[in-house]
Protein backbone atom coordinates (compact mmCIF):
# COMPACT_ATOMS: atom_id res chain seq x y z
CA UNK A 1 0.00 0.00 0.00
CA UNK A 2 1.18 3.47 -0.89
CA UNK A 3 1.87 5.87 1.89
CA UNK A 4 0.06 9.21 2.12
CA UNK A 5 2.21 11.91 0.52
CA UNK A 6 0.87 15.35 1.45
CA UNK A 7 3.31 17.00 -0.98
CA UNK A 8 1.67 15.56 -4.14
CA UNK A 9 -0.96 18.30 -4.66
CA UNK A 10 1.65 21.05 -4.33
CA UNK A 11 3.36 19.83 -7.49
CA UNK A 12 0.19 20.71 -9.39
CA UNK A 13 -0.63 23.98 -7.67
CA UNK A 14 -0.69 25.97 -10.91
CA UNK A 15 -3.23 23.66 -12.55
CA UNK A 16 -5.38 23.68 -9.41
CA UNK A 17 -5.25 27.47 -9.35
CA UNK A 18 -6.52 27.61 -12.93
CA UNK A 19 -9.35 25.28 -11.93
CA UNK A 20 -10.20 27.40 -8.90
CA UNK A 21 -10.29 30.49 -11.09
CA UNK A 22 -12.77 28.78 -13.41
CA UNK A 23 -14.96 27.78 -10.44
CA UNK A 24 -14.87 31.29 -8.98
CA UNK A 25 -15.51 32.97 -12.33
CA UNK A 26 -18.47 30.76 -13.05
CA UNK A 27 -19.87 31.26 -9.54
CA UNK A 28 -19.58 35.05 -9.73
CA UNK A 29 -21.10 35.33 -13.20
CA UNK A 30 -23.98 33.00 -12.37
CA UNK A 31 -24.52 34.70 -9.02
CA UNK A 32 -24.83 38.15 -10.61
CA UNK A 33 -27.11 36.93 -13.40
CA UNK A 34 -29.00 34.70 -10.96
CA UNK A 35 -29.70 37.59 -8.57
CA UNK A 36 -31.09 39.69 -11.42
CA UNK A 37 -33.15 36.77 -12.71
CA UNK A 38 -34.27 35.92 -9.18
CA UNK A 39 -35.45 39.46 -8.47
CA UNK A 40 -37.39 39.63 -11.73
CA UNK A 41 -38.88 36.21 -11.04
CA UNK A 42 -39.94 37.23 -7.53
CA UNK A 43 -41.72 40.23 -9.07
CA UNK A 44 -43.29 38.05 -11.76
CA UNK A 45 -44.66 35.77 -9.05
CA UNK A 46 -46.48 38.77 -7.54
CA UNK A 47 -47.78 39.87 -10.92
CA UNK A 48 -51.50 40.36 -11.48
CA UNK A 49 -51.09 38.71 -14.89
CA UNK A 50 -51.89 35.05 -14.27
CA UNK A 51 -49.88 33.40 -17.11
CA UNK A 52 -46.72 35.26 -16.05
CA UNK A 53 -47.29 34.23 -12.43
CA UNK A 54 -47.84 30.62 -13.47
CA UNK A 55 -44.75 30.55 -15.67
CA UNK A 56 -42.55 32.00 -12.92
CA UNK A 57 -43.91 29.57 -10.35
CA UNK A 58 -43.42 26.61 -12.70
CA UNK A 59 -39.83 27.65 -13.37
CA UNK A 60 -38.99 28.05 -9.68
CA UNK A 61 -40.60 24.80 -8.59
CA UNK A 62 -39.00 22.86 -11.45
CA UNK A 63 -35.49 24.02 -10.63
CA UNK A 64 -35.93 23.71 -6.88
CA UNK A 65 -37.44 20.29 -7.20
CA UNK A 66 -34.94 18.54 -9.46
CA UNK A 67 -31.25 17.63 -8.91
CA UNK A 68 -28.82 20.25 -10.20
CA UNK A 69 -26.83 17.49 -11.90
CA UNK A 70 -29.83 16.55 -14.03
CA UNK A 71 -30.49 20.22 -14.84
CA UNK A 72 -26.88 20.50 -16.00
CA UNK A 73 -26.98 17.42 -18.23
CA UNK A 74 -30.36 18.38 -19.58
CA UNK A 75 -29.18 21.83 -20.59
CA UNK A 76 -25.90 20.52 -22.03
CA UNK A 77 -27.66 18.01 -24.24
CA UNK A 78 -30.97 19.73 -24.92
CA UNK A 79 -29.89 23.33 -25.35
CA UNK A 80 -28.07 22.62 -28.66
CA UNK A 81 -31.16 20.76 -29.92
CA UNK A 82 -33.45 23.62 -28.92
CA UNK A 83 -31.18 26.35 -30.25
CA UNK A 84 -30.07 24.57 -33.41
CA UNK A 85 -26.42 25.35 -32.69
CA UNK A 86 -23.76 24.42 -30.16
CA UNK A 87 -23.56 27.25 -27.60
CA UNK A 88 -20.29 26.04 -26.12
CA UNK A 89 -19.55 24.44 -22.77
CA UNK A 90 -18.96 27.62 -20.83
CA UNK A 91 -22.17 29.26 -22.07
CA UNK A 92 -24.15 26.11 -21.30
CA UNK A 93 -22.69 25.95 -17.81
CA UNK A 94 -23.56 29.62 -17.25
CA UNK A 95 -27.13 29.08 -18.45
CA UNK A 96 -27.60 26.02 -16.25
CA UNK A 97 -26.18 27.47 -13.04
CA UNK A 98 -27.89 30.84 -13.62
CA UNK A 99 -31.27 29.16 -13.95
CA UNK A 100 -30.60 27.26 -10.74
CA UNK A 101 -29.33 30.37 -8.91
CA UNK A 102 -32.30 32.41 -10.19
CA UNK A 103 -34.77 29.88 -8.82
CA UNK A 104 -33.31 29.81 -5.31
CA UNK A 105 -32.71 33.59 -5.28
CA UNK A 106 -36.29 34.37 -6.26
CA UNK A 107 -37.43 32.55 -3.12
CA UNK A 108 -35.00 34.64 -1.09
CA UNK A 109 -36.46 37.85 -2.48
CA UNK A 110 -40.01 36.61 -2.04
CA UNK A 111 -39.39 35.98 1.64
CA UNK A 112 -37.63 39.32 2.16
CA UNK A 113 -40.42 41.25 0.40
CA UNK A 114 -42.96 39.49 2.61
CA UNK A 115 -41.03 40.37 5.76
CA UNK A 116 -41.44 44.13 5.25
CA UNK A 117 -44.11 45.09 7.80
CA UNK A 118 -47.47 46.32 6.56
CA UNK A 119 -47.01 49.46 8.67
CA UNK A 120 -44.23 50.59 6.35
CA UNK A 121 -46.76 50.73 3.51
CA UNK A 122 -49.29 52.61 5.69
CA UNK A 123 -46.63 55.12 6.66
CA UNK A 124 -45.70 55.68 3.05
CA UNK A 125 -49.30 56.28 2.06
CA UNK A 126 -49.63 58.77 4.92
CA UNK A 127 -46.52 60.54 3.64
CA UNK A 128 -47.72 60.46 0.03
CA UNK A 129 -44.93 58.09 -1.02
CA UNK A 130 -46.60 55.85 -3.61
CA UNK A 131 -45.95 53.99 -6.84
CA UNK A 132 -42.39 54.06 -8.14
CA UNK A 133 -41.09 56.13 -5.20
CA UNK A 134 -42.46 53.56 -2.78
CA UNK A 135 -40.91 50.66 -4.70
CA UNK A 136 -37.57 52.31 -5.36
CA UNK A 137 -36.82 54.13 -2.11
CA UNK A 138 -38.60 52.10 0.55
CA UNK A 139 -39.43 48.56 -0.59
CA UNK A 140 -36.42 47.65 -2.74
CA UNK A 141 -33.70 48.83 -0.31
CA UNK A 142 -35.35 47.05 2.61
CA UNK A 143 -35.92 43.89 0.58
CA UNK A 144 -32.28 43.86 -0.52
CA UNK A 145 -31.03 44.53 2.99
CA UNK A 146 -33.15 41.73 4.42
CA UNK A 147 -32.05 39.42 1.59
CA UNK A 148 -28.29 39.96 1.96
CA UNK A 149 -27.55 37.20 4.52
CA UNK A 150 -29.50 34.62 2.51
CA UNK A 151 -27.95 35.84 -0.74
CA UNK A 152 -24.51 35.25 0.76
CA UNK A 153 -25.53 31.74 1.82
CA UNK A 154 -26.82 31.19 -1.71
CA UNK A 155 -23.43 32.30 -3.01
CA UNK A 156 -21.65 29.72 -0.85
CA UNK A 157 -24.11 27.03 -1.96
CA UNK A 158 -23.65 27.97 -5.60
CA UNK A 159 -19.86 27.86 -5.29
CA UNK A 160 -20.06 24.32 -3.92
CA UNK A 161 -22.71 23.22 -6.46
CA UNK A 162 -20.47 24.53 -9.25
CA UNK A 163 -18.28 21.44 -8.71
CA UNK A 164 -21.00 19.55 -10.61
CA UNK A 165 -19.99 21.17 -13.90
CA UNK A 166 -16.92 18.94 -13.88
CA UNK A 167 -19.35 16.14 -14.76
CA UNK A 168 -19.93 17.74 -18.15
CA UNK A 169 -16.22 18.25 -18.75
CA UNK A 170 -15.76 21.86 -17.67
CA UNK A 171 -12.20 22.40 -16.42
CA UNK A 172 -13.09 23.69 -12.96
CA UNK A 173 -11.33 22.93 -9.68
CA UNK A 174 -13.12 19.60 -9.27
CA UNK A 175 -12.44 18.47 -12.85
CA UNK A 176 -8.74 19.37 -12.80
CA UNK A 177 -8.27 17.87 -9.35
CA UNK A 178 -9.87 14.56 -10.27
CA UNK A 179 -7.98 14.42 -13.61
CA UNK A 180 -4.70 14.79 -11.75
CA UNK A 181 -5.77 12.18 -9.22
CA UNK A 182 -6.60 9.74 -12.04
CA UNK A 183 -3.34 10.38 -13.82
CA UNK A 184 -1.11 10.20 -10.73
CA UNK A 185 -3.06 7.49 -8.95
CA UNK A 186 -3.16 9.68 -5.85
CA UNK A 187 -6.91 10.15 -5.22
CA UNK A 188 -6.66 10.56 -1.45
CA UNK A 189 -4.11 13.37 -1.59
CA UNK A 190 -5.74 15.15 -4.51
CA UNK A 191 -9.35 14.92 -3.29
CA UNK A 192 -8.25 16.08 0.16
CA UNK A 193 -6.46 19.01 -1.42
CA UNK A 194 -9.56 19.98 -3.44
CA UNK A 195 -11.77 19.73 -0.39
CA UNK A 196 -9.37 21.96 1.53
CA UNK A 197 -9.43 24.54 -1.26
CA UNK A 198 -13.25 24.57 -1.47
CA UNK A 199 -13.39 24.85 2.31
CA UNK A 200 -10.83 27.66 2.37
CA UNK A 201 -13.08 29.73 0.13
CA UNK A 202 -16.46 28.75 1.55
CA UNK A 203 -15.69 28.83 5.27
CA UNK A 204 -14.72 32.52 5.54
CA UNK A 205 -17.82 33.35 3.49
CA UNK A 206 -20.10 31.45 5.85
CA UNK A 207 -18.50 33.28 8.78
CA UNK A 208 -19.13 36.59 7.01
CA UNK A 209 -22.77 35.58 6.52
CA UNK A 210 -23.16 35.21 10.29
CA UNK A 211 -21.60 38.59 11.00
CA UNK A 212 -23.54 40.43 8.32
CA UNK A 213 -26.76 38.82 9.45
CA UNK A 214 -26.27 39.98 13.03
CA UNK A 215 -25.52 43.51 11.86
CA UNK A 216 -28.50 43.71 9.56
CA UNK A 217 -30.87 42.29 12.15
CA UNK A 218 -29.66 44.92 14.60
CA UNK A 219 -30.25 47.64 12.01
CA UNK A 220 -33.73 46.42 11.15
CA UNK A 221 -34.82 45.95 14.75
CA UNK A 222 -36.82 49.14 14.83
Amino acid sequence: MMHFDPMVPFKYWDALLIGLWMSLRLTLICLALGIALGFLTSQARRSRFMPLRALATFYVELFRGTPVLIQLFWIFYCLPLLLGFEPGNFASAVVALTLYAGAITSETFRASLKSIPREQYDTCRALGITGMSLALWVVLPQALLRAIPTLLSNAVALFKESALISAVGMADLMFIGSSISNRTGRPVEMLTAIAVIYFAVAFPLTRIVGRVEARILRRLAV
Partner: protein, 253 residues
Protein backbone atom coordinates in the same frame (compact mmCIF):
# COMPACT_ATOMS: atom_id res chain seq x y z
CA UNK B 1 -65.46 80.14 3.45
CA UNK B 2 -64.24 80.92 6.92
CA UNK B 3 -67.19 79.19 8.57
CA UNK B 4 -66.33 75.83 6.99
CA UNK B 5 -65.17 73.22 9.42
CA UNK B 6 -61.61 71.92 9.05
CA UNK B 7 -63.03 68.42 9.10
CA UNK B 8 -66.58 67.19 8.93
CA UNK B 9 -67.36 63.50 9.22
CA UNK B 10 -70.95 62.76 8.34
CA UNK B 11 -72.87 59.54 8.90
CA UNK B 12 -69.75 57.34 8.68
CA UNK B 13 -70.27 53.62 8.27
CA UNK B 14 -67.47 51.11 8.43
CA UNK B 15 -67.36 47.37 8.94
CA UNK B 16 -64.93 44.51 8.75
CA UNK B 17 -66.96 41.67 7.34
CA UNK B 18 -69.86 41.20 9.73
CA UNK B 19 -68.33 43.37 12.40
CA UNK B 20 -69.80 46.86 12.32
CA UNK B 21 -67.32 49.43 13.58
CA UNK B 22 -69.17 52.67 12.80
CA UNK B 23 -72.92 52.99 12.51
CA UNK B 24 -73.39 56.53 11.34
CA UNK B 25 -70.69 58.37 13.25
CA UNK B 26 -70.86 62.13 12.87
CA UNK B 27 -68.16 64.45 14.10
CA UNK B 28 -66.70 67.80 13.11
CA UNK B 29 -63.62 69.74 13.99
CA UNK B 30 -62.64 73.41 13.89
CA UNK B 31 -59.19 74.76 13.03
CA UNK B 32 -58.31 75.46 16.63
CA UNK B 33 -59.47 72.07 17.88
CA UNK B 34 -57.40 69.39 19.52
CA UNK B 35 -59.70 66.42 19.61
CA UNK B 36 -58.95 63.56 21.94
CA UNK B 37 -60.96 60.46 21.18
CA UNK B 38 -61.63 58.08 24.03
CA UNK B 39 -63.68 54.93 24.20
CA UNK B 40 -63.66 51.22 24.87
CA UNK B 41 -60.92 49.23 23.16
CA UNK B 42 -62.06 47.63 19.95
CA UNK B 43 -64.43 50.56 19.52
CA UNK B 44 -62.70 51.75 16.37
CA UNK B 45 -60.73 54.76 17.65
CA UNK B 46 -57.67 53.84 15.61
CA UNK B 47 -59.84 52.90 12.66
CA UNK B 48 -61.34 56.38 12.73
CA UNK B 49 -57.88 57.94 12.43
CA UNK B 50 -56.94 55.50 9.66
CA UNK B 51 -60.08 56.45 7.77
CA UNK B 52 -59.35 60.17 8.12
CA UNK B 53 -55.80 59.46 6.87
CA UNK B 54 -57.28 57.72 3.84
CA UNK B 55 -55.88 54.29 4.73
CA UNK B 56 -59.22 52.49 4.98
CA UNK B 57 -62.21 51.95 2.76
CA UNK B 58 -65.53 53.08 4.15
CA UNK B 59 -68.93 51.51 3.75
CA UNK B 60 -70.96 54.69 3.77
CA UNK B 61 -70.97 58.37 4.66
CA UNK B 62 -68.70 61.22 3.70
CA UNK B 63 -65.90 63.36 5.02
CA UNK B 64 -65.32 67.00 4.11
CA UNK B 65 -62.25 69.11 4.60
CA UNK B 66 -62.69 72.88 4.50
CA UNK B 67 -66.09 72.24 2.97
CA UNK B 68 -64.63 70.25 0.09
CA UNK B 69 -65.41 66.56 -0.40
CA UNK B 70 -62.42 64.56 0.89
CA UNK B 71 -63.57 60.96 1.31
CA UNK B 72 -66.80 59.71 -0.23
CA UNK B 73 -68.50 56.44 -0.85
CA UNK B 74 -69.13 56.38 -4.58
CA UNK B 75 -71.03 53.27 -5.62
CA UNK B 76 -68.88 50.30 -4.65
CA UNK B 77 -65.72 52.34 -4.19
CA UNK B 78 -64.24 54.68 -1.61
CA UNK B 79 -63.11 57.89 -3.30
CA UNK B 80 -60.30 59.82 -1.70
CA UNK B 81 -59.18 63.28 -2.83
CA UNK B 82 -55.36 62.92 -2.93
CA UNK B 83 -54.75 66.68 -2.71
CA UNK B 84 -56.69 66.90 0.53
CA UNK B 85 -55.10 63.69 1.80
CA UNK B 86 -51.71 65.38 1.41
CA UNK B 87 -52.79 67.96 4.00
CA UNK B 88 -53.23 65.29 6.68
CA UNK B 89 -50.33 63.75 8.58
CA UNK B 90 -50.25 60.76 10.90
CA UNK B 91 -48.02 59.39 13.64
CA UNK B 92 -48.34 55.68 14.37
CA UNK B 93 -48.06 53.65 17.56
CA UNK B 94 -44.93 51.80 16.44
CA UNK B 95 -43.10 54.84 14.98
CA UNK B 96 -42.55 52.99 11.65
CA UNK B 97 -39.42 54.87 10.75
CA UNK B 98 -37.55 53.71 7.66
CA UNK B 99 -34.90 51.36 9.11
CA UNK B 100 -32.59 51.61 6.08
CA UNK B 101 -32.27 55.40 6.24
CA UNK B 102 -30.64 57.65 8.81
CA UNK B 103 -32.77 60.13 10.75
CA UNK B 104 -32.13 63.04 8.40
CA UNK B 105 -33.08 60.95 5.35
CA UNK B 106 -36.15 59.65 7.18
CA UNK B 107 -37.31 63.26 7.34
CA UNK B 108 -36.30 64.34 3.84
CA UNK B 109 -37.46 61.31 1.82
CA UNK B 110 -41.12 62.31 1.38
CA UNK B 111 -40.62 66.04 0.66
CA UNK B 112 -37.76 65.39 -1.78
CA UNK B 113 -39.25 62.42 -3.63
CA UNK B 114 -42.90 63.39 -3.71
CA UNK B 115 -43.16 67.14 -3.13
CA UNK B 116 -40.31 68.23 -5.35
CA UNK B 117 -38.47 70.00 -2.53
CA UNK B 118 -34.74 70.42 -3.13
CA UNK B 119 -32.47 68.27 -0.97
CA UNK B 120 -30.74 71.32 0.51
CA UNK B 121 -34.02 72.95 1.44
CA UNK B 122 -35.41 69.73 2.91
CA UNK B 123 -32.27 69.14 4.96
CA UNK B 124 -32.34 72.66 6.34
CA UNK B 125 -35.96 72.27 7.32
CA UNK B 126 -35.27 68.82 8.82
CA UNK B 127 -32.37 70.13 10.89
CA UNK B 128 -34.61 72.93 12.13
CA UNK B 129 -37.23 70.45 13.32
CA UNK B 130 -34.65 68.10 14.84
CA UNK B 131 -33.07 70.98 16.73
CA UNK B 132 -36.48 72.09 17.96
CA UNK B 133 -37.13 68.58 19.32
CA UNK B 134 -33.62 68.21 20.78
CA UNK B 135 -32.58 65.57 18.27
CA UNK B 136 -30.09 67.44 16.06
CA UNK B 137 -27.21 65.30 17.41
CA UNK B 138 -29.01 62.20 16.05
CA UNK B 139 -29.35 63.40 12.45
CA UNK B 140 -26.86 60.84 11.17
CA UNK B 141 -27.90 58.01 13.49
CA UNK B 142 -30.09 55.13 12.33
CA UNK B 143 -33.52 54.42 13.87
CA UNK B 144 -32.25 51.27 15.59
CA UNK B 145 -29.79 53.39 17.57
CA UNK B 146 -32.54 55.53 19.12
CA UNK B 147 -34.75 55.02 22.17
CA UNK B 148 -38.49 54.60 21.68
CA UNK B 149 -39.13 58.16 22.82
CA UNK B 150 -36.57 59.53 20.39
CA UNK B 151 -37.99 57.45 17.55
CA UNK B 152 -41.47 58.73 18.20
CA UNK B 153 -40.24 62.34 18.24
CA UNK B 154 -38.52 61.68 14.91
CA UNK B 155 -41.79 60.27 13.56
CA UNK B 156 -43.58 63.46 14.61
CA UNK B 157 -40.89 65.60 12.97
CA UNK B 158 -41.17 63.50 9.80
CA UNK B 159 -44.92 64.16 9.65
CA UNK B 160 -44.33 67.90 10.20
CA UNK B 161 -41.94 68.04 7.23
CA UNK B 162 -45.00 68.08 4.95
CA UNK B 163 -46.69 70.99 6.80
CA UNK B 164 -49.94 69.15 7.55
CA UNK B 165 -53.11 71.11 8.36
CA UNK B 166 -54.24 68.25 10.56
CA UNK B 167 -52.09 65.80 12.49
CA UNK B 168 -53.37 62.42 13.67
CA UNK B 169 -51.80 60.64 16.66
CA UNK B 170 -52.65 56.95 17.02
CA UNK B 171 -51.74 55.82 20.54
CA UNK B 172 -48.28 57.24 20.04
CA UNK B 173 -47.14 56.61 23.61
CA UNK B 174 -48.68 53.14 24.10
CA UNK B 175 -45.58 51.26 22.97
CA UNK B 176 -43.19 53.35 25.08
CA UNK B 177 -41.62 52.56 28.41
CA UNK B 178 -43.29 54.75 31.05
CA UNK B 179 -40.21 56.95 31.58
CA UNK B 180 -40.14 57.87 27.86
CA UNK B 181 -43.78 58.95 27.61
CA UNK B 182 -43.18 62.46 28.96
CA UNK B 183 -40.72 63.53 26.25
CA UNK B 184 -43.19 62.63 23.49
CA UNK B 185 -46.11 64.26 25.26
CA UNK B 186 -44.01 67.40 25.75
CA UNK B 187 -43.47 67.65 22.00
CA UNK B 188 -47.20 67.24 21.42
CA UNK B 189 -47.96 69.94 23.99
CA UNK B 190 -45.55 72.25 22.21
CA UNK B 191 -47.37 71.64 18.91
CA UNK B 192 -50.69 72.24 20.66
CA UNK B 193 -49.48 75.59 21.94
CA UNK B 194 -48.36 76.47 18.40
CA UNK B 195 -51.95 75.92 17.27
CA UNK B 196 -51.60 72.66 15.36
CA UNK B 197 -54.98 70.99 14.81
CA UNK B 198 -54.76 67.44 16.12
CA UNK B 199 -56.85 64.34 16.48
CA UNK B 200 -55.48 62.12 19.22
CA UNK B 201 -56.26 58.60 20.35
CA UNK B 202 -54.77 57.91 23.77
CA UNK B 203 -55.36 55.86 26.88
CA UNK B 204 -53.65 58.46 29.05
CA UNK B 205 -56.56 60.36 30.58
CA UNK B 206 -54.31 62.78 32.40
CA UNK B 207 -52.64 63.77 29.15
CA UNK B 208 -56.03 63.92 27.43
CA UNK B 209 -57.23 66.47 29.96
CA UNK B 210 -54.10 68.59 29.44
CA UNK B 211 -53.99 68.67 25.68
CA UNK B 212 -57.59 68.41 24.55
CA UNK B 213 -59.76 71.33 23.57
CA UNK B 214 -62.52 68.77 23.09
CA UNK B 215 -62.92 65.18 24.20
CA UNK B 216 -65.02 62.80 22.16
CA UNK B 217 -66.33 59.62 23.72
CA UNK B 218 -67.07 57.13 20.96
CA UNK B 219 -68.72 53.79 21.66
CA UNK B 220 -71.03 51.41 19.87
CA UNK B 221 -70.12 52.91 16.51
CA UNK B 222 -71.31 56.43 17.24
CA UNK B 223 -70.24 59.54 19.17
CA UNK B 224 -71.83 59.25 22.61
CA UNK B 225 -70.58 62.49 24.10
CA UNK B 226 -68.57 65.40 22.78
CA UNK B 227 -67.48 68.41 24.77
CA UNK B 228 -64.67 70.20 26.61
CA UNK B 229 -62.50 67.94 28.81
CA UNK B 230 -63.98 69.44 32.01
CA UNK B 231 -67.36 68.15 30.89
CA UNK B 232 -66.59 64.75 29.34
CA UNK B 233 -63.90 63.68 31.78
CA UNK B 234 -65.07 65.34 35.00
CA UNK B 235 -68.82 65.74 34.71
CA UNK B 236 -70.11 63.56 31.89
CA UNK B 237 -73.72 64.19 30.90
CA UNK B 238 -74.38 60.74 29.47
CA UNK B 239 -74.58 57.69 31.71
CA UNK B 240 -72.51 55.57 29.35
CA UNK B 241 -69.66 58.09 29.35
CA UNK B 242 -69.77 58.37 33.11
CA UNK B 243 -69.54 54.63 33.48
CA UNK B 244 -66.52 54.48 31.14
CA UNK B 245 -64.69 57.43 32.69
CA UNK B 246 -65.25 56.16 36.23
CA UNK B 247 -63.93 52.75 35.28
CA UNK B 248 -60.82 54.18 33.63
CA UNK B 249 -60.01 56.51 36.50
CA UNK B 250 -60.68 53.79 39.08
CA UNK B 251 -58.13 51.60 37.32
CA UNK B 252 -55.53 54.36 37.57
CA UNK B 253 -55.81 54.56 41.33
Amino acid sequence: MAQDKLLKIHNLHKSYGDLEIFKGLTLSMDRGDRLVIIGPSGGGKSTLLRIVMGLEDIVGGDIYMDGKPYILRDGAKTKIDRKLQARVGMVFQHYTLFPHLDILRNLTLAPVKTRGMSRAEAEEKAMGLLTRFGLDAKARAYPSQLSGGQKQRVAIARALMLDPDLLLFDEVTSALDPELVAEVEAVMMELAEAGMPMMIVTHDMHFARNIASRVVFAAGGVVVEDGPPEQVLDAPQVARTREFVERVFAKKR
